[in-house]
């Protein structure tokens, strides 16, 4: 044991003295993973769930640092100027950073960040009270007759954005959007019949859906959710719709060297395939879907025009 330690120390000392920062020797010290929300939320839980497995594949400690505030804006602004040596990474729910860019003045641009890897994807679902419309067609008919009230987990949230896209593509003229802070409020209001429908992540409403108090009518995705196989997607009902992908993943600061990105991407991608991580993901009903660095970058580029189209509607007139 002591011998191993000595060898480790010698090797570490040797690398420190001998080489400048060079991809092949990465990483030689603990890596900081910034979470753009407080300890205990969804982003934080997923980061803490994957971190031990990333440690295993990188051979270095992964230290979580929570930087909540202004929906993550504070963290993004600081992250823009972090040295791109791969020792500081950020994890958040994409595309919230892009929405923040469109909501006010920002110094950062999400498209400048270096995408590493995303492990999970989530989609919005349209839910109604269990005692109201039985099918999506019935709902659509009612929605076209008079404006319904629809709950959102926040103005300018991804639920809002997806709601606006759906309205546009389904030909519904008007909805009275009612923004809440977080999904719990909008779901409670729907369960108490104060709202006509709510846009939310399926995972946020799962308890009341299972109990039959709420009914999911449509999942905004191109394929069904394995945890909720009964919820139809637009394709099943004959609609051709575009979606805003919601990804949980990790990014490096702007201009991170490609060899470091490769090492990190490999470590995160292997970590996401570990049984221990998959078990936690199943309990949290996360939809695991590996998105590599290049594909992640494409998703970032694709989302800008979609959000730009609805920019004016993200804030009220």
């Amino acid at each position: 044991m002591l011998k191993t330690l000595k060898i480790c120390a010698a090797v570490a000392a040797a690398t420190l003295v001998a080489t400048p920062v060079f991809g092949a020797d990465f990483p030689t010290k603990p890596i900081k993973l910034i979470v753009t929300a407080g300890a205990g939320g969804g982003e934080d839980t997923e980061a803490r769930a994957i971190a031990p497995f990333v440690e295993k594949h990188l051979g270095q400690q992964v230290v979580i640092e929570n930087q909540p505030g202004a929906g993550g804006k504070i963290a993004f602004e600081k992250f823009q100027n972090v040295t791109p040596d791969g020792y500081a990474l950020i994890t958040y729910t994409f595309p919230k950073s892009v929405i923040i860019e469109y909501q006010g003045k920002t110094g950062f641009k999400t498209r400048d960040f270096t995408p590493i890897f995303a492990w999970s994807r989530s989609s919005q679902v349209l839910v109604v009270n269990g005692e109201s419309w039985k099918t999506f067609q019935e709902f659509l008919k009612a929605a076209k007759e008079k404006p319904l009230s629809g709950g959102l987990s926040g103005r300018g949230s991804t639920t809002h954005l997806m709601g606006l896209i759906a309205l546009d593509e389904l030909g519904i003229d008007k909805v009275n959007w009612v923004p809440y802070e977080g999904s719990a409020g909008s779901i409670a209001a729907l369960a108490g019949k104060h709202l006509d429908f709510t846009m939310s992540l399926a995972t946020s409403a799962v308890a009341l859906i299972q109990a039959g108090k709420l009914r999911p009518l449509l999942l905004f995705s191109d394929k069904r959710d394995p945890h909720f196989p009964d919820i139809p997607v637009p394709k099943d009902l004959g609609y051709n719709m575009s979606f805003i992908p919601t990804l949980r993943g990790v990014e490096a600061p702007p201009k991170t060297p490609a060899d470091i990105v490769t090492i990190l991407e490999a470590a995160f991608s292997k970590a996401a395939q570990e049984k221990g991580f998959i078990d936690i993901a199943a309990k949290r009903k996360m939809v695991l879907e590996p998105v590599g660095s290049k594909e992640f970058a494409r998703a970032v580029a694709d989302v800008y025009p979609k959000i730009a189209k609805f920019q004016s509607m993200l804030t009220s007139k």
């Binding site: 205990g40 803490r48 909540p68 103005r155 299972q210």
Partner: protein
Amino acid sequence: MDVLLQAIAFVLQWQNLAALAGGTVYGIIIGVLPGLGPSAGMALAIPLVMTWHPATALIFMGALYKCSNYGGSLTAILVNTPGDASNAATILDGYPMCQRGMGGVALGLSATSALVGGTIGMICLIYAAPFLADFALEFGPAEYFLTAVLALSLIAAVVQGATIKGLIAAGMGLLLSTVGFDVIAGHLRYTFDWAPVEDGIPLIQALVGLFAVTQALVLAESAASISRLAELSGSFWEGVRTYFRHPLIMVRASLIGLFVGILPGVGQSSAGLLAWADAKRVSKHPETFGEGEPVGVIASETATNSCMPGDLVCTIALGLPGSVGAAVFLGVMIIFGIVPGPLVFMNQPEVIYSLFVALFLTSFLIFIIGMTVARRLAVVTLLPNNVIVPLILVVSLLGSFAIRNEMADVFISLAFGALGYVMLKGGFTPIPLLLGLVLGEMVETNYHRALLISGGSYSIFYASVICKILILLTILSLVGPYLGPFWKTLTQGEK
């Protein structure tokens, strides 16, 4: 109730009792440390309990979550620093009691409040959770708006005696509550492009400023110690006895705490403040509140402790968390394979009822810890100011920083410290400001939500039965203080 007996037997196994005790102690420590709330405490403890039996792990987490509040009340009473936002009202009378050398009594009150408030809250949770959850769902935006208005009407009671200054402070609080992202319209208001306030004025940081920093400035003026007397008078047991001399306050505060806890849309931090204001309103000597009135501590601590089980009602019965702490607890439950919701009482009753039994027992454990260990902490109030003042400042500002790892928050605390000092010297109390700050957003956002739903029609505000009751209560709360004397003159005639 077979399942309840099974749960009791399960909790009494040694490893579960150990988890219960461990969670309680860890929770109290988390509560004492500024900047570390129950959410961070639970998140940090997840790796520790990951390999445990799910029910044992939940007992640990539940105890941690429930007891952190008691730790916060210790610092609130002894060094004028709220451990969490929910302890704000405890400071108002708890700390002045320390200044009068009655720190031991205040600690006795707080431990007894944890016992009684926690027990009443838990009994309601165990026997009526599904019913209470259905009641909570009846509250839509209009009902929330009227609840907030009813709560604001308590300001009238708080400011009695110094009405103008009180209303100025309340107005300032309401104004400050508008800072940040406007949830309804999606605009940033009064942030001057400064990101740290985009979520609104951070509450704990503001409280640290208003109380800890302000008080440090006041203490720095004199060379004595917090307790103005050289020795402590009154004991822990005197606190316990005082508590049971006020059964009416006990019931009122428990119900207020429970009510605030059950409604997911009402900020948990307001429970203590509202119970405190309510106790002041019904008191025969309201002028003593804020000067070290034991009843003030009883009201605020009892409400805070019954609020937490209330908070768990919707979290467990509907899967809808009403606070950040509850959201984290929900996440913990899911990781251990328990899906809270209407079906949990049927699918996994043994886990849920063991959790309930354990939480019930934590109240007694807190009381024992208060009786044996915590009461000795009162001696810190005898430390000379040149030792305690730098200590309070450093620890509280560190806590302010630690919440978001954000230096700007330290400056926010210092700014509120300066504001608090100026207010104090000008004869303003910070309570109306706090009530305004805590309730402002609830009033505003729910007013807008209600009108968005009704399409602009104001009839939504008096459509439901609950709305009508709330309006009636608000009117009573406002004119109540004048009715008594009016009735007297009416019946006795003029003399």
